[in-house]
Every structure is written in C-alpha cells, then in structure tokens.
C-alpha cells in the first residue's frame, strides 16, 4: 500500500536538465538489491559522486543549502528510459516528496504514484522561472496541495488561471499554479489506496472474463 499524499511544503532544488533518464536517477549497479528500501544513498550516483567516491561539489544536490530539499524541479521528459521502479524508490528514500517538471516519461510517472511520490506537470515557462528562483532565492519553499491541484511559490504575482481556484491561494503573497492530474491517480495517492485490493473487488468479473477466453 502506498503512502498517501495530500499536501506538502518544502525546499525546492533545481536540477536544470532535460531528459533526465532513470539510468541517471539510479545507475544499474544498484538494481541488484531485493528490497524496496535503501536506494536513496545511490540517487544520481554518477552525478553526486566522483570516480573516487567523494561527493562532487559541482552537483546541485551536494550544495549545503539544498541538503533538506524535498521538492525537485527539473526539465522536460524527466524519468525517461528504463521502467525500473528503483528510480522513484531512490528519489523517495532520499527525501523527495514532489517532482516538478514540464513533462514526464509515462512509466516513471505512473511508478511515482505507487510510491507516494507526486509528479507535478507545470508549463515550461513556469518551470523555467521556478528553476531560476530555486537557484537565486533562499530558502525557496514551495507548497503543493494535491486536493486543490495547486502549487504555490513564495512571493510574486499569481498566474493561476481557471475558475476552480480563483482567489483561493493558501498564501496570498505567492504565485499559484494549477496543475492537472488524472482523477484516478489522484484518488489513489490521496487515500494511499491499495490498488491490488481495489482491483480484487472485481474478482468475479476477472473470473468471468477468463471463462470467455478459455484461459480459466
């Protein structure tokens, strides 16, 4: 059963790259573990650590001011490549609760929801601004409200559009951005529902289907 996600406020770290693939998020030499836990230490391993195993000071996650970051802001097509669920496991185990990007790869996007990690799609211009703010302002703390589907930045004018959130930003000083999420994915992660248990309520339908296919 996945950890539920409702709201989260945390420090954002900018990973200003496009096409961050799952081989970067968690390199293959760490896929041999048979547990779901303990992958955070290997997150972005080849970027975080030099060949001799010491931290690379040039990589953004190694900057002291981002040590407590829980929100990752990144470029287009985040999570492309392999289907390894070790990628969201590593991000979550490291301490991230939210990934914000203009677009995500399909399998990674789905895998996040199974693990209480919320991927948020915002327009490219908004994300570019957030990447700059996360680099320039400190602390740059962002709030995410899944129920209302709103991301709120500290300070600045609001660019929220659509009638559903007009005048309802939690922090009147911060820019708010509405994001879209599939109702079913939202429901499951909000409640932390057990998807297998949910599907098993249709066990009779599954059995009936199997009889029609002669596979039962």
């Amino acid at each position: 059963m996945a950890e539920p996600f409702t709201t989260h406020t945390g420090l954002a770290v900018p990973l200003d790259r496009i096409n961050v693939d799952t081989d970067q998020i968690i390199p293959k030499q760490f896929l041999k573990r048979i547990e779901r836990t303990g992958f955070g230490q290997f997150l972005f391993y080849d970027w975080r650590f030099k060949g001799d195993g010491s931290p690379d000071p040039g990589f953004v996650l190694n900057e002291g001011r981002y040590r407590d970051a829980t929100i990752l802001v990144a470029g287009d097509n985040f999570g492309c490549g392999s289907s390894r669920e070790h990628a969201p496991w590593a991000l979550q185990d490291y301490g991230f609760r939210v990934i914000i990007a203009p677009s995500f790869a399909d399998i990674f996007y789905n895998n996040c929801f199974k693990n209480g990690l919320l991927p948020v799609v915002l327009p490219g211009d908004t994300v570019r601004r957030m990447l700059r703010s996360a680099a320039d302002q400190h602390p740059y703390s962002v709030s995410v409200d899944l129920e209302r589907q709103v991301v709120t930045e500290p300070g600045g004018p609001s660019d929220t559009s659509g009638p559903s959130d007009t005048g309802s930003a939690p922090d009147p000083g911060g820019a708010s951005h509405r994001f879209e999420v599939d109702p079913f994915l939202k429901h499951f992660i909000l409640e932390g529902l057990d998807e297998i248990g949910w599907t098993l309520q249709f066990e009779d339908d599954i059995a009936a289907y199997e009889r029609t296919q002669c596979t039962g």
Binding site: L31, E85, E195, E203
Partner: protein, 466 residues
Amino acid sequence: MPPKTMYEKVWDQHVVKEMPDGLTVLYIDAHLIHEVTSPQAFEGLRAADRKLRRPDLTYATMDHNVPTTDRSLPMTDEIARLQVDMLSRNCAEFGVPLYDLDSPRNGIVHVIGPELGITQPGRTMVCGDSHTSTHGAFGALAFGIGTSEVEHVMATQCLLQKRSRTFEIRVDGVLREGVTAKDIILNIIRRTGTAGGTGTVIEYAGSTIRGLSMDERMTICNMSIELGARAGLIAPDDTTFEYLAGREFTPDGAAFDRAVEEWRTLATDDGAEFDERLALKADEIVPQVSWGTNPGMVTDVTGVVPDPAGMDSENDRRAAEKALSYMALEPNTSITDIEIDRVFIGSCTNSRLSDLRAAADVIRGRRVSPRVTALVVPGSTAVKQQAEAEGLDRVFLEAGFEWREAGCSMCLGMNPDILQPGERCASTSNRNFEGRQGRNGRTHLVSPAMAAAAAVAGHFVDVRDW
C-alpha cells in the same frame, strides 16, 4: 461499427471492467518476469498473503545480471547471485515456470518470448522492463511496467489502465542496400525526439515495414520506448504466421489455422483515425550513428557531429553541449573519423540470428582492429546454438571477437561486461545514456553491420562502401 485501429481492437478484447471515466481493468494474457524487477513484487504478495493468480500465464527467465562467460562456473558477483537465487526460490514457491541458466530456453526475456511462441498476435503482454514493446512486432499489445504493477499483475492478472492516444508511423519505399531496421528506428527517434511518442501507442505501417522480417520488426518495436511510446505495434501478416508456426507455445494443426483467421482480423480498419501521424520515405534513410547521450541524438554516417551553436532551442543547445562534453567529441567532426575502443553486438534490440548473420557477413575473412575489443552476445541459448550450427561462432572467433553465452550483458552493464571510464563503444543496443554501459563509458548506437565494420576498421565506416 466505426473503423478501429489495431490497438483499439486488442484493447477492446481485453476489457474486464470499464469505469465511467475510462479507467479500465485490462486483462493480461502473458506476464514475463526476470530477476531484477520481480523480487520486491513477490515479497509484496507474501506480505499481503496473496496468491499469484495465473502461474500458467507467467514466464520467468534470468537475463539482466547473469554472466556471459562459462556457465559451469559459480557467479562471482554475490549480490547478483542472490537476486538470481531469489528468482529461483520465488518461482518454485509460486509455481512459475522458470527458464534458468541451465535451461535450453534461457535468454533475454524479449528474445525468448517470440522464440517460444509465447508472443502471439492480439495478446496483451507485460514485463517489468521497458523494452517489452518488442513483442508488438507480432501485433501483441505489449508494454513495460514498474515493480508495483508487476505485483498487481501477479495478484490479479490485470492492470488498471486508461487508453493511450494512437500514433501511426508509416515507412514506404525500398530501403537502400546496407540500411537496416535499426537505421529506420534510429532515424525515426532522431525526427521525433525522445519524448515524441509520450502517451501514445505507435502503429508502424507502410510498404517498407510490411517487407521486413520478424527479427527486423522486433528491432523497430523494441525501440518504441526510446521515443517515449507505451508500445509499438505492427499488423500481423503471413510473415508473422510463418514465424509462429510450429513454436512451442503456438497452437498447432487446425487450432493454428483458426488462430490465423482470427489474427487476420486484427489489422487496423480502413479509415480508422490516429491522433498523430508521421511518414518517412525509406530511400532517404542511410546508416545512422548516435553522437550524443540519448537515442534521439543521431545523425547519418556520412554526416558530422552537430554544432550546438547552430541549434535553435536553448534546451537543445545546452543538452547537446553537455552530451558532447560527456562524449568527448568536437562539433563538425566527421562521424567516420570517430575511433572506437569496444564493439558490442547483442541486446534485445539486435541479438537475433539475422543480426549475427549480418555482422558475420561483414567480418568474414577479416580481423578486428588491434585497438578494438569486440564482443558478441547472442540473445538466447537457442540463438547461440543455431549460430554455432551455421558456423557463425567460428567467423567471429577467427576475426578476433569474443563469443559469449546469452544475456543482456553490456547493453546495461549489470553484469561484469562493462565499459571502462573513457572507453568508446559501437553498440547494437538501445540506449546511449550517460554511464549506461559503464561509468563514463561512451556509447554510439548503430546496426549490427555497422558495429561489425567499425570493429574491423577501428572507427566508424559507411557499411555501404564495405
């Protein structure tokens, strides 16, 4: 009835339950599993005291982390061995048939599925591996899933899904000599980018696709995920049926004839709508070589390494600069001037018998360049045995290639087959991501013939001049 695409037909045939918002309980006909993405799923079943619903529709192999050297020796990587042992124990406990290292049916999951006839037109197939799209070459709706979904399929034989958008990619005309299926798909990804297919299921169509063998169709569908698509499909036809006849898991006799009649109805109806379309002319495609760190960063073998300064979008420019820095390449370098240290012929993209034949044809009677270490890893034990029966192993060995046991090997470097830092590799695999084949290793994606020619020359060459 409005005309339907093949994807819609296969989907509709597998709907167990559809909710008003389109959320669907979709039945899965075949579930392929391997050692890397299954242990946590089995553990989840045990923790919730759940059964594996259909062990008879579940098929297991070990491929990702297995050594490709002498199999009579124990695995030296303790953690990998634990994962392999865990798969054996889990399969025994849950009653799943396992094609382990001693089995003549062992091999890369996407090579043995078709080989054994598990892959069939109209089936839904999943695996905890993104290259599951390979099986779409038969008109099966096949896609990669994460480990939570692996557990979901184990427990329910179903997945919760919503319909994808549809994307038709047509390739028409006659391929030039020396141009292969690998060049077609690399050229497609070069045009669409690595996110150009996100959210879609692709159907590859057109006269060029129709003229491809099953091995070649698998190469195309295999890399659908590299443009971000969920799956890639090719309509089954006589080429498909001829391939499937007589395989272990395909029906035989009158049952096969009935199956063929049904499979023929799967093709997309005339007039069916696709959400997106792309058309290519086959005779415009030449051998392709990747120059960067994703499979969309590709150019012609006759071309040069692109200059980021000339790129319109800032995102592309910065990504290209990073890629060239990682790849240690200068803009405007001729592709044929790029020298290589390693050659890898293998992976679920290009490790089938026809791939090995194509590579062998190029090197027969020649020697691997002294600067190059070259490796051939057949996709399955069956491919290896067939190749040996044809004498291909001798062609490779005499040329100076290493001839190995089946497995994923250097495609992802989970086993001891990896690049050393700074080494440059001509590879028939599917991903040239940073570190994919080993930390600071530099991967160039090419066809088997192009890889073989590069092994001999020590640098890329246009195989059409060979």
